[in-house]
Structures are given as C-alpha cells and as structure tokens.
Amino acid sequence: MSIWFSIHANVKLRPDADAEKLAAALAAIEELVPESTYPDPDRGSVTIETSHDMSHDTSERLAAAVKDLARTFGDGQAVEVETKYEDDDRLSFFVGPQAAVVAALQADAAGRSRAIAQRLAAELTKLAEQPAGAFVETEGWW
C-alpha cells in the first residue's frame, strides 16, 4: 500500500566531504526515489526534495537516509528537514550537533512566535475597521 510523502532538506556539506562516498550515498537515495537529489557544487550543498506516492517503508528509509547524509557529510550546522505524510500536518525537525540544533530550534521558535503575533495584528487591524457592534469574520488563522 502506498502513501503520499513529501520531504525537503538542504544539507550544507563539509569542505572535506569524501566525494566518492557522497556520490554513493546520493545514488542510494536516487535508488530509493529517483530524481530526489539535487547537488549544488557552487554552494557546497545538496538538496533532497521529493513528493510522491511511495511505500511507508520507502518513506522511512528516505527520511533515515537524509539524516545519515546530514550526519556523515554535513558541515556541522543544524539541518531542517520538512516532511508531510498525506493528510497529516507538515512537520519540521532538525538534525545535527546538539548545540547547533538548540540554536536552530530557538530561532525557529522565535520565528513562529513572531508569526503568531503578526497574524493576530493583521486580524485586529482588519477588525478595527468594522463597527464595534457588527457581526464580523476573521480572515483565518493558518
């Protein structure tokens, strides 16, 4: 039985990453899901991106392969991995050295907090244009 699975991650590579081993790791990912790896030699990074129907086993192996890629070839920064399974909400998680991941989480939480405040401010601005006794509707809180 197949499920729809989406994953996105951008891994910045260590300058001394073993090119042959990296090529083998990417080939293994391509074997799992073709056309899912996008090396960018100019930026020294690899993007893993795909949205497909696949078996649950394949989706788990793909996610594990992305984590291994970050662990083995990453430059020591936290890597954000975004996944989505069919009707589930999109999830974001971080992999990398503990200190880098804590810093990335802190920045991410701050960004989410700002987004909540901005969303509320946008709704309040719109509502402020309405008379205080009116029946009103918000735009919607994503």
């Binding site: 909400d89 974001s92 503990q98 200190a99 989480l105 939480a109 509320l120 009103v136 509707e137």
Partner: protein, 138 residues
C-alpha cells in the same frame, strides 16, 4: 481553485430548518454526497469535503452566511483544510471575536513555548554539545 477541500462548522437552532437552508445554500457548489450533517448535542455539525476543483471563496461565503443567520450572537469557528494547509476562521459579534482572537493568541504562544521547552529538555540528554541529535517534528 483548490482540489482538496474540507470544512467543519457547528450551527445552532432548529435542526430541520438549518438542514434545509444548508441544502439550498450548498446546492450550487457541491454534490449532496460531498457534505453531511449530524446532531452534536444541541448543535448541527456540518462537514463539507470534495476532491473536485471547487471555487473556495463563494462556498465559504455561503457557509459564513449560514453562520450569520443561525449563530449571530456568539463566536463560531469554521475549520477549513485545503491543498495549502488548515485554517480556522472566527465569526461573530465584534467584541466577542476580538476576545477570542486574544485568547487564541495566548493559547498558541503557550503551546509553542511548551513545545519548545520540551524539545530543549529532550536535547539536554545528549552526551555533549557535538553529539548528533534529532528533534521531534513540530
């Protein structure tokens, strides 16, 4: 146009009257097998789902009109899911909606803070700052 659409709202009042109004209001937008109504306590829950290309704005406007007609004096939440994600819209008297928004902000900030603290606590078990770790999804 979106190709996956789901909506949930609860309407209050005389159930047969609401049901007839819903059927009339939605007739131009979805087929009868693409929505359902069920009594939830003293409210009539309406669910709409469709995989057809649907013009979302007029459909939501039709539902909003139903809310204004049947639940004019309290805040009603309309939950919508589509290709882009999920959203919750609030309808009702101005002052009550303002209060609800402020409450929602507090709830979301508190949930975010709790999730963040849980993640950081989980990561604190790592052997050292360089240990390779994976957070929970959030």
């Amino acid at each position: 146009m979106v190709s996956n659409f789901y909506l949930y709202v609860e309407l209050a009042g005389d159930a047969p009257t609401i049901a007839q109004s819903v059927r009339t209001a939605l007739a131009d937008f979805v087929y009868p097998d693409e929505y359902a109504m069920a009594l939830e306590g003293d409210k009539l829950a309406l669910e709409v789902w469709t995989c057809a290309q649907v013009a979302q704005a007029p459909l939501i406007a039709a539902v909003d009109t139903l809310v204004q007609r049947f639940v004019p004096n309290q805040v009603t939440s309309v939950y919508i899911e589509d290709d882009r994600g999920s959203t919750e819209q609030y309808l009702g008297p101005w002052r009550d909606v303002m209060t609800r928004l402020a409450h929602e902000r507090q709830t979301r900030q508190a949930a975010l803070e709790a999730a963040y603290q849980r993640q950081v606590r989980n990561l604190a078990h790592a052997e050292n700052r360089d240990a390779f770790v994976i957070t929970e999804g959030w």
